[in-house]
Symmetry: C2
Subunit: 369 residues, 2 copies
């Protein structure tokens, strides 16, 4: 099997026209001197209390000059990806007299990464940022590519910036303490990369899903590394999501609508995206873009990963409310057309600017269980 | 006199590595079709109610497709350059279902420009922006160069971004309704450009200050045009204030400290900057960088413009509190050294990273009246 050997390290460089940075992956966190990735002497580490207690000793800062390190604790949960957490980070930085050459470190999952990245992008018009993602979802997706955001009471991720970090440091051994449901949720994004443009990776995932679920180090490292490379390749050519980056939203248009209608309380992100990918696959099938067999393979791998593939009827979500929500998604730039990401095959995603609403409605109607 | 003739228009192009935009100046506002400077069909105009009532008929949108125009009113005053106004703009955009390809228009002075620019930079990770500054201060300074910000309860301009507009549209005829005190305040920034690197412009200002105070169209157009060109030239080479752009802070280190200690209630921005420039000039003189005669010329022109040149003793500000405040200024990147902008002559500003504190204290002690 094309595993990366245990302990093998890798550096994936992300290059934009006016900024580049490394994704460091494969080594244990304590092997990195974080001062090497910042010119600052003031570090503000934003995290959850439990991550601090578990892993703070793994963060290493070695510098010939005096450095200042402070911690800022954010409550866990999507509900705290909001203005109050943002203000906590900003106020703490101001109270500590952090200067415009300071460095914020996001040490946590997607919520921590998004809040900290956003705070770094607006504190004194932008300070340095290091991302240290601690969940599989953030390691393969949200920490890479520079999207930051908080939710607004009226919409998810409505307020944010594009802001690239100085470095992303990924230690997959941190995933050992990740709850099983979070691991499973993260696998949805991994499978997404395979569906978008890597059929061999899809086959590999199909053969190795059990190794991933048992957290086999080599398997996890391979899957995370592969996913990071897919994400890097796409964001590099389209930093601000003007075109091809939209492919990464496979399953997200439908998934976001589900999350929104259930107040982000019923489904983990990856779970909603899993259902969204099944819907996208089914729409593709109805449009004769993929075969029944391909569709089945997609449903099977998601099921094997432990992900949901249909909407829970007991939640009482109506098709009309889903359709309405789809048109609110900020990725839908035009108000009258429904933009979705569909499949022409496994590993062949494409953007459809004007999806036939009747087919979508019909598919949604049969997506409940 | 080297006046621009009445009605003569000019375009100043601001060019960055990955973005460029025009400053349009010299024509009346209704001559511009704002749709030409945006690819959007959704416009949100952020302004004050009184500016809407005075000038809304001057804003022209002409497009072959249907466009949507909405207004968002912000209360006047620096106290409203805060999170509540920002949230008002963002919430209104979300409620109106403004999409990520919408365009925000800042129609007002510096407060409106800073809030709207910041809102545009973070709404759905960035939408289009057009700046239409309506005060002399915003026409010659804040609308150009992409600095956006709101104040934080713990510090001025602490939260913001660098975000460049699609265009800056300047109509100096809007200044006819500007209160005299605002006109005078704006002249401080105009004089600042002359002090930084344009001795001939200083002489011109010295000869024409009365024409500016009586709002002679030709004189105003010339001064605004000249100032814009100075600002453009400096921000182009240093968009994110890593170096030479700091020259624009002449008078601002001291001025900001004064504003902060008086809760932004006692001095208009230009008034505080005027006093700050006198202090910077006096420090320069004490360090034998400029002559007594040069210092006198600076004090005289500011007085002729109607600007204050010393701190009002009755405000009860202590020298120690001023010094403490100076070290809090976010432009001071290092915590132990005081960075100031000083003069080697009229039209010859430079950055001093480590200003002798004893001289600063001594000068501050003699800056009260």
């Amino acid at each position: 099997m094309p595993y990366i050997e245990r302990g093998q390290s890798d550096i994936i460089n992300v290059e934009f026209s006016n900024h580049q940075y490394p994704i460091l992956i494969g080594k244990s966190l304590e092997n990195y001197n974080l001062c090497e990735y910042s010119s600052s002497h003031q570090f503000l580490i934003v995290t959850h209390k439990n991550l601090h207690d578990l892993y703070s000793s793994k963060l290493r800062f070695s510098s010939p000059i005096d450095i200042e390190i402070n911690w800022c604790f954010i409550e866990e949960g999507e509900i705290h990806k909001a203005n109050d957490s943002l203000q906590k980070v900003l106020s703490q930085a101001i109270k500590l007299k952090y200067r415009r050459n300071s460095c914020f470190i996001a040490f946590g999952g997607g919520v921590i990464g998004d809040i900290t990245g956003f705070a770094a992008s607006i504190y004194q018009r932008g300070v340095e940022l290091i991302q240290i993602p601690t969940t599989i979802l953030s390691q393969v997706d949200s920490s890479i590519g520079g999207k930051t955001a908080i939710n607004h009471p009226l919409g998810k991720n409505m307020i944010g910036t594009f802001y690239q970090p100085n470095a992303v440091v990924i230690d997959t051994s941190l995933l050992e303490t990740l709850p099983k449901s979070e691991l499973v949720s993260g696998l949805a994004e991994v499978i997404k990369y395979a569906l978008i443009n890597d059929a061999p990776f899809f086959d590999w995932l199909d053969a190795n899903i059990d190794n991933l679920l048992t957290r086999d180090t080599s398997a996890i490292n391979y899957a995370v590394n592969k996913s990071c490379k897919h994400k890097q390749a796409i964001v590099e050519v389209d930093e601000k999501e003007k075109g091809v980056r939209a492919l990464l939203n496979l399953g997200h248009t439908f998934g976001h609508a589900l999350e929104a209608l259930t107040n982000y309380e019923k489904y983990l992100h990856g779970e909603a995206i899993s259902i969204g990918m099944v819907i996208a696959s089914e729409v593709s099938k109805r449009m004769s873009l993929i075969t029944q067999e391909e569709h089945n393979k997609i449903v099977v791998i998601l099921k094997k990963a432990g992900l949901p593939v249909s909407i829970d009827s007991s939640l009482g979500i109506s098709i009309d409310s889903l359709i309405n929500q789809l048109f609110l998604d900020k990725k839908n730039v035009k108000s009258s057309a429904l933009k979705t990401i569909l499949l022409k095959g496994i590993g062949k995603a494409f953007i459809l600017e004007d999806t036939p609403i009747e087919i979508v409605k019909d598919v949604l109607g049969k997506s409940f269980s």
